[in-house]
Structure formats: structure tokens, C-alpha cells
């Protein structure tokens, strides 16, 4: 708590909180990063669940690079948002729920991406014993569960993230 009080009194924290542009600009990056990581994750889930079957699953290897770029952008902008109002966020259950969901969503994305990195054979393994038939990957139940979980974690993170804005800030120091 002492650390949070100190952090909140640093010039940088005050600037993030009170300047005209600090907070809005950080939020801009946070929204763009969200679109990239959540957007691509949702499209991947749709593909795994059977949408656009002639879209090669391996092409997501490259798209995951963009998704991780968005994830990194949101880690940095998220840390800045935390520095701006650490005491309020620490006191907000929605913030903790969001952090837990982000960790799970990130892990799911990592597992799904790892399977792609390992090459086509691994994708087929993830995809199940059906293998590739006429360019179409037969998706295993495990991959379907991962795809659904990924979407649930990200949507949960968006909901809890939005709710953070609806909690009352502690009195200023």
C-alpha cells in the first residue's frame, strides 16, 4: 500500500491522471491493441469451430504475430493505466477478474499458437486424427474446447475491463 501511495504521487502518475492528453492517448493504444489481439483470436476460434473451412489454419501463424503485437501493446498501455490510478485499481474486483481472464486468454492463445509453430504435422495433431482431407483440417474436440475457451476469456476480459470504469475512485491523497 505504501508503494501504491508513492507511485500515485510520482509526477508521471499525476500526469497520466490529470493531463489533457495522457489518459486519452494511452486509452487509444489500449483500444487498438484490443482490436488486434481479441479480433484475431475470435477469427481463429471461428475457423477452428468450422467457419471458412478452405482458410488454411497455418495462415494464422502469421496473424498470431499481429495478435501478440496487440497483446504487447496492451501490456504496456495497461501498465501505464495502472500507474495512473494504482489504488483504485487494486481496490476494484473487476480489475482482478480482468487480470485473471487475460492470463488465461494469453495462455490459450499461446497453446494454440504453439501448435501452429510446430509445423503442419503438429497442426494436424492438434486438429485430431482425421488429418487433412482435400485441404481441410478435421478439428479435434480439444481444439474446439480451446477455441471456445479463448473466446469466452476474451469476452469476459472486455466485460470486466469495461466495468472497471464504473467503480468509484478512492479519495485523492
Amino acid at each position: 500500500m505504501e508503494f501504491l501511495v508513492w507511485l500515485e504521487q510520482t509526477d508521471f502518475s499525476v500526469w497520466l491522471r490529470e493531463s489533457d492528453w495522457g489518459h486519452p492517448i494511452v486509452l487509444c493504444f489500449h483500444a487498438v491493441g484490443m482490436g488486434m489481439v481479441v479480433g484475431i483470436s475470435l477469427m481463429y476460434s471461428a475457423r477452428i469451430l468450422g467457419y471458412a473451412k478452405d482458410f488454411p489454419v497455418s495462415a494464422f501463424d502469421w496473424l498470431f504475430g499481429l495478435a501478440w503485437f496487440g497483446f504487447a501493446m496492451n501490456t504496456v498501455s495497461g501498465v501505464l493505466l495502472f500507474v495512473g490510478e494504482p489504488r483504485r485499481l487494486m481496490d476494484t474486483p473487476a480489475f482482478w477478474i480482468k487480470m485473471i481472464l487475460i492470463v488465461f486468454a494469453g495462455l490459450t492463445l499461446w497453446v494454440l499458437g504453439k501448435a501452429l509453430d510446430a509445423g503442419p504435422r503438429e497442426v494436424v495433431r492438434l486438429a485430431g486424427s482425421g488429418g487433412i482431407s482435400s485441404g481441410e483440417v478435421i478439428v479435434s474436440p480439444n481444439a474446439r474446447v480451446a477455441a471456445i475457451l479463448s473466446a469466452v476469456f476474451w469476452l469476459g476480459a472486455i466485460i470486466s475491463g469495461r466495468l472497471i470504469g464504473y467503480t468509484i475512485a478512492p479519495p485523492p491523497l
Binding site: D20, V32, G35, G39, M43, A52, D54, F55, P56
Partner: protein
């Protein structure tokens, strides 16, 4: 009717009153607006980047198959956007970020409509590469929607001002 009277009439609509009185409707709208945003960005990245010549291992038709996500995301955001506007039209209407955002949405829509009218989807389904027009349209689409997103996020910062400068 004057501009003020129109805005006043909009503000008195039952939808606006319901959202203002409810504790959760506005927050739910915002959450849906973010989900719609994510669907749009995800779909647009796949479609526009493929049109620009990235991820060439993907057949053009398979990439264009992700367009419905963009359209659904847009409809979610149009509906929730209207919800926000009727809640407080006097805040949104004079806001320069709101006006520019609306203009850019119309330009992005026009860009998409021209693309469809020229029937590029059907022609493209058969090709591996795209011409200069399609690349420009895809680049425009990505840049315009990025600006729309940023202006939406910056909208509250311009609350109360009537011009950018």
C-alpha cells in the same frame, strides 16, 4: 425545426430516457461496442491484409469469407452508437471528434460500397493477386477504420469543445 429542436426531440425519445434512467444499459452498450469493434478489426485485418498481398497462402475467397464478421460488428456498433447518441445528443452533436468520426464512417462505407458495386468480390474469388485499385481500397479501409476507432476513443476528451483547435 432548428438544430436545437431536433436534438431536443431526439433526447426526449423513450430509448434515451430509458438508458439515462437505467443503471446498466449504457455500460452494456459500451461493452457491446467494444465487442463489435473487435469483430470488425479481426475481420478487416484478414480481408484487407489479404487484399494488400499478405498471407498469400490463403485463397482470396477464403479471406473474403470473413467479411460477415465485419458487417455484424458494424451493425452491433451502429445500434449501440445510436443508443449512446440518443442518451446525450447535445454532448455528441457539437463534438468535433464525433463529426469527424461520422464523416470517416461514411467515407469507409462508400469505399466498401464502391468495392462491392464494382463486383470485385466475385472477380477476386478467382485470382491470386490484386490490382492497384483493390490494394488502394484495402489500404483506405484499414486507415479509415483505424481513425474511426481512435476518434471514438478520443471523443470524451473533446466534450464541451466545438472545434479541434
Amino acid at each position: 425545426m432548428t438544430e436545437g429542436e431536433v436534438l431536443h426531440w431526439i433526447k426526449e425519445l423513450p430509448l434515451g430516457a430509458a438508458v439515462r434512467e437505467s443503471r446498466w444499459l449504457f455500460a452494456m452498450g459500451e461493452t457491446l461496442h467494444f465487442i463489435g469493434l473487435s469483430l470488425m478489426v479481426g475481420g478487416l485485418l484478414i480481408v484487407d491484409l489479404r487484399l494488400l498481398g499478405f498471407i498469400r497462402s490463403v485463397p482470396m475467397r477464403a479471406a473474403l469469407a470473413f467479411l460477415p464478421f465485419v458487417i455484424v460488428g458494424f451493425l452491433i456498433n451502429l445500434a449501440t452508437g445510436i443508443e449512446f447518441f440518443v442518451t446525450d445528443p447535445f454532448m455528441y452533436w457539437p463534438n468535433p471528434a464525433f463529426k469527424l468520426k461520422l464523416t470517416l464512417i461514411m467515407l469507409a462505407g462508400l469505399n466498401a460500397v464502391v468495392f462491392m458495386v464494382l463486383d470485385h468480390r466475385h472477380k477476386l474469388a478467382l485470382t491470386k493477386d490484386t490490382g492497384a485499385y483493390v490494394k488502394v481500397a484495402a489500404g483506405l479501409s484499414l486507415s479509415l477504420w483505424l481513425c474511426v476507432l481512435l476518434l471514438g476513443r478520443l471523443l470524451p476528451a473533446f466534450e464541451g469543445s466545438t472545434s479541434f483547435f
